[in-house]
């Protein structure tokens, strides 16, 4: 139980990203609706998934790299600071990538998803979970000398992205199938300010890291 919770947390974060209309499912749905073809929708999902995964993988790899120079108990301070600053910034201004559109190929979608997730701090948010839990595949967990195994990097990226894409795909496909009946009325009533929630989550995570 104790060793499973980081993975659960990673998956839940992924599911949360999947739920956020700004992170991909709505884009895939719109592209499907534009052409009235479910294949256009499905074709858009995988580059969006890869873009998101790239953000996560880069964050975890960075963490692994920085570990070479900084012991865990020192590392938590810069991590907390970076996450805190990003949280503050996101509170003030919700930005999104520019220059995208509705006539996009796989490369555009990959880049869009990567930028969207990176600007969001999707990868950064994983770091507190990883460093707070040396149990994560760190077989020789000794104070100040822990190391992320390649397996952990791959697995954490996979768990997070898979959770995100399951939620995103289900949402996109359900709305595609039911579009003529229910449309997207739900966006008007249920599109919560995910950016604001996320900014708060970043701030809380930063504090948790600092005092943890």
């Amino acid at each position: 139980m104790n060793s499973a919770w980081p993975w659960v947390a990673l998956a839940l974060l992924g599911a949360y990203h999947g739920l956020n209309p700004a992170m991909g499912w709505l884009f895939a749905l719109a592209l499907g609706l534009q052409e009235r073809r479910s294949s256009a929708l499905l074709g858009a999902l995988w580059p969006i998934a890869l873009g998101h995964a790239a953000t996560i993988a880069i964050a975890v790899l960075l963490l692994r790299f920085v570990q070479h120079f900084l012991p865990l108990h020192t590392l938590k301070w810069p991590v907390a600071a970076i996450i805190f600053v990003l949280g503050l910034y996101r509170l003030g201004r919700a930005s999104h990538p520019r220059g995208s559109g509705m006539r996009v190929g796989a490369r555009d979608l990959f880049l869009w998803s990567f930028l969207m997730a990176s600007a969001h701090g999707a990868g950064l948010m994983l770091i507190p979970i990883l460093i707070s839990h040396p149990a994560l595949g760190m077989s020789h967990a000794m104070a100040g000398a822990f190391r992320l195994g390649l397996g952990v990097i791959l697995f954490s990226t996979l768990v997070h992205t898979a959770a995100m894409m399951v939620v995103a795909s289900v949402l996109a496909l359900v709305f595609f199938q039911l579009y003529d009946r229910i449309g997207l009325q739900v966006l008007r009533h249920a599109w919560l300010n995910f950016d604001l929630l996320w900014a708060c989550a970043l701030l809380i995570a930063a504090i948790a890291v600092a005092i943890g």
Binding site: Q34, H96, R98, Q185
Partner: protein, 467 residues
């Protein structure tokens, strides 16, 4: 910043058409008397249940005289729900109100008192000139990633006209939009096909060609704008020019299909040099080839009407006819009904355009007009001048509002006696057909009303990313 999406944003035109009836209209009103009185933004009550229905319930004076308020628009609209640049938690709250002559841009806050908007920011002309290289801002649209304005020309009053953007958050001018403008020189209106990443722009003339009135020499030589331009929205590059022929003078209002999966739209042409007729053209994506080019075709022609020269202003006496002077068109959210303002003949026409290639005339009312001077049912004995001009529709398509002034320097040439400002409303029958609401006749006195925007959005304010 809102916790839930702004309730006036609708993902699709279909859903927007189910919006509740609007309660207020904002109307740009121009002081053309030459006095030091500034132009104003008037607030008109359009709530039929209200005691002050059809009355002006608020007025906001601009800080300076001589702006020539003309077109204006919202800071944000339904395009904020577009999937690639979502920002649904900004508010539709600010009206961006440019002075077409002064190049001064006013930002008005409609909250917390929608009937008493407040000027919260003024962008001075120098700032627009320096940052964008443009002047004479015209159309305002809220785009998926910013506020866009078209401009008629450069600060010197020559071309080229073009498009510039304002920052979402602080409304500062951001610079010119075009990366590569190709042969485009004249500016006027612009519109998007968001589903295709396409921008369409139209042509009037440079400020120097229009600010002292229509120049008959230039007009008869076919020198005013007669083309449409198609652009790549993402790359900001010119793709294609669609020339209607130089006898088609002044290609103005652009009304693209609201359904983002459809790549067609209507544009009005003020006059033909051949016979003074006005026309409406349909631009559409070519289906024969897959290279994404557009074609254009005339689908409506409105003839000039023979008239006694004694009843005509000097500019028209030689022609012995009153031209329709089609100066605005508007398309209902369901893409089914097209309205055409004939400012010269004093007629508002309604066409059924569900087959855009074959419009059917299904409704017509007369009011004002250079020769006709038609009255309103509220005042059957009072001849009116000016004619149907800027036309706006409610989102459900059941109510049509229009005003009677065009542009001060041109008003003078076609209605030399001066224009008494008015705004009227039509009720639309479900299957087509229009008639005046006899309870709605707003008199503006010496002020001249131009564009109308409805609270919460109307048929030309919002662009959509979902069918």
């Amino acid at each position: 910043m809102l916790l839930k999406a702004d309730p006036t944003f609708y993902p699709s035109p279909k859903l927007a058409a189910q919006a509740p009836p609007e309660k207020l209209a904002y109307v740009a009103a121009l002081n053309a008397t030459g006095s030091a009185r500034p132009d104003e933004l008037a607030v008109v009550n359009i709530d039929a249940q209200s005691r002050t229905y059809g009355g002006i319930v608020g007025r906001v004076e601009m800080p300076h005289a001589g702006d020539e308020l003309h077109h204006f628009g919202w800071n944000a609209c339904s395009s904020a729900l577009c999937p690639y640049a979502p920002h649904p938690h900004v508010e539709r709250r600010y009206l961006i109100v440019p002075g077409l002559r002064s190049s001064r841009i006013h930002v008005l806050d409609t909250k917390p008192h929608p009937e008493k908007p407040k000027i919260v920011k003024v962008i001075e002309p120098q700032s627009v000139h320096q940052r964008t290289g443009y002047s004479r801002p015209h159309t305002v649209h809220c785009g998926p990633d910013g506020i866009y304005l078209s401009a008629l020309g450069s600060p010197s009053g020559d071309g080229p006209g073009g498009i510039f953007a304002l920052d979402h958050d602080n409304f500062e001018p951001l610079g010119r939009w075009e990366v590569e403008r190709g042969p485009q020189h004249f500016g006027y209106d612009f519109a998007w096909h968001l589903g295709y990443d396409i921008v369409v722009t139209s042509e009037w003339g440079t400020p120097n060609m229009v600010e002292n009135g229509v120049n008959p020499e230039l007009l008869l030589a076919g020198k005013y704008g007669h083309s449409l331009h198609i652009w790549d929205l993402r790359k900001r590059r010119h793709l294609q020019a669609l020339d209607l022929g130089s006898e088609q003078q002044m290609v103005l209002e652009l009304r693209p299909a609201h359904d983002p999966t459809k790549a067609y739209g209507f544009v009005g042409v003020v006059t033909s040099l051949k016979d003074l007729s006005s026309s409406i053209w349909l631009w559409h994506k070519t289906t024969a080839t897959s290279d994404g080019t557009f074609e254009i075709k005339k689908v409506i022609e409105i003839p000039a009407e023979a008239a006694d020269p004694a009843q005509l202003p000097p500019l028209l006496q030689g022609f012995k006819a009153v031209p329709p002077l089609l100066t605005d068109i508007n398309l209902s959210l369901d893409d089914c009904f097209l309205y055409a303002s004939c400012w010269g003949t004093g007629e508002m026409r309604q066409y059924e355009v569900s087959d855009p290639f074959h419009p059917k005339l299904v409704g017509s009312v007369h009011i004002g007009g250079i020769v006709r001077h038609g009255p309103h049912p509220a005042r059957p004995n009072q001849p009116l001048n000016g004619g149907p001009q800027m036309v706006e529709l409610s989102r459900d398509g059941q109510r049509v509002f229009f005003t009677n002034s065009l542009y001060a320097a041109w008003d003078r040439q076609f209605y030399p006696e001066g224009i008494g400002g008015w705004m009227v409303k039509l009720d639309v029958a479900p299957q087509g057909g229009i008639q005046f609401d006899s309870k709605f006749f707003v008199e503006f006195g010496e002020l001249r009303p131009h564009q109308v925007r409805l609270q919460g959005g109307d048929a030309s304010s919002d662009f959509y990313c979902y069918p």
